[in-house]
Amino acid sequence: MRRLILLFVLLFPTLASAATLHVSAAASLTDVLQELAPIYEKHTGDTVLFNFGASSLLARQIQEGAPADLFISADELKMDSLQQRRLIVAATRRSILSNTLAIIVPSDSRVKIASPADLAGDSIRNLALAEPQSVPAGIYAKEYLRKLRLWQKIVFKVVPTDNVRGALAAVESGNADAGIVYKTDALISKLVRIAYEVPAAEGPEISYPAAVVADSKQPAAAQRLLDFLQSPRAQGVFRKYGFLVKPRQ
């Protein structure tokens, strides 16, 4: 009888370990994770369901009890707030990626931006940013502009969006003259071009921490996925999209 069960399990590995994982991830990871997921699903038979959005919104959702197995934030602050509330498995927390900022304009725009200071010029009537009070991409952009003492000069032009992809869309549509998003977002879109790439050394420290959510019903499967995201295969894909990969701890 035991041999029969063993045979059964070996022949149908999917039955033995089929987990459905809910992953809440920062909006900037949308495209890269959607490319990685099918690879992971084929290998393991697990199903991965994504919830992309501003990290601030996702953290709030997890706080209010939304189902999630893995959380990947675009800044440490959001992960800190969940860790303080003991909503993540602290031992599983690690920073897996970094990124750089880019100033973008619509691809048919004739505006010249040689440096960030040009954002204060008259030809830039509005500047799309993810909400600078709460969304990581916006917080990073504000931090950067503050450092350059440009924030006060452009704050009245800011059009805040719910997440970084909203800022991208605003520039793509031509309704915003310029925007600040992650370089990885700019690379995704053919409708915008990078007017100025913020060198990593000058820009803010960007970090994408990931952790297994404390209330997860499949922590082992979540951990497996997290390990996969740090595998050489996955790291290759991240680099392809323009992310900076943090070494595995």
Binding site: S56, L57, N126, S134, P160, G174
Partner: protein, 223 residues
Amino acid sequence: MSAAEWHVVAFTLRVAALSTLLIAPLGVGVAWLLARYRWPGKSLVETVVTLPLVLPPVATGLLLLKLVGRRGPLGQLLDRAGVDVVFTWRAVVLAMMAMSFPLLVRGCRVAFEEVNVRFEQVARTLGASDWRVFLTITVPLALRGIVGGLVLAFARAIGEFGATIVVAGNIPGRTRTLALAIYDDVQLGHDDAAFRLLGVAAAIAFVALWTSEAVLRRRGAPR
């Protein structure tokens, strides 16, 4: 309540009032045509007018965005004239107008349909022009419903969120309305502030309804 919060309230009241004022003539007119006449294309007009009521508000916002955005058909003309709409207070007014228009038309249409045609007929035999009949007979007899429609439209404008956030954005000091401010407070976890603003929104609705009732009572509008 902080100064910024009062600013949001004042801004919302201003744009909602402007929106209601702008849709009033067209809304009353369209309601009148729908109530009294049959004409080719009438069902199409009825459907288009009702659309913002049944579509998700963000969908209506999207349609507006495509229309008046810088690359849109109307937006290009406006851009050449130097008029910015998207991400400005004008887009807020536009979103409010689109979302409250169907409510105004519905309310007025029912009011007009309830006015007995005989009154209008007799007025015509007494020599009154169509305008005079409309202003001296139809509107006074339908007034209760018309005022009700306007108040409802105003209240809807105050509460407008989905279309506004898509076409006007949520820009503090420029396009942040009461509804958007409540949303922000909720997002940031400032529940106390959210409830404060909620209280103001409820108070506004209450005052609007009470005022319309008082105005109608003073006129002695017949039932």
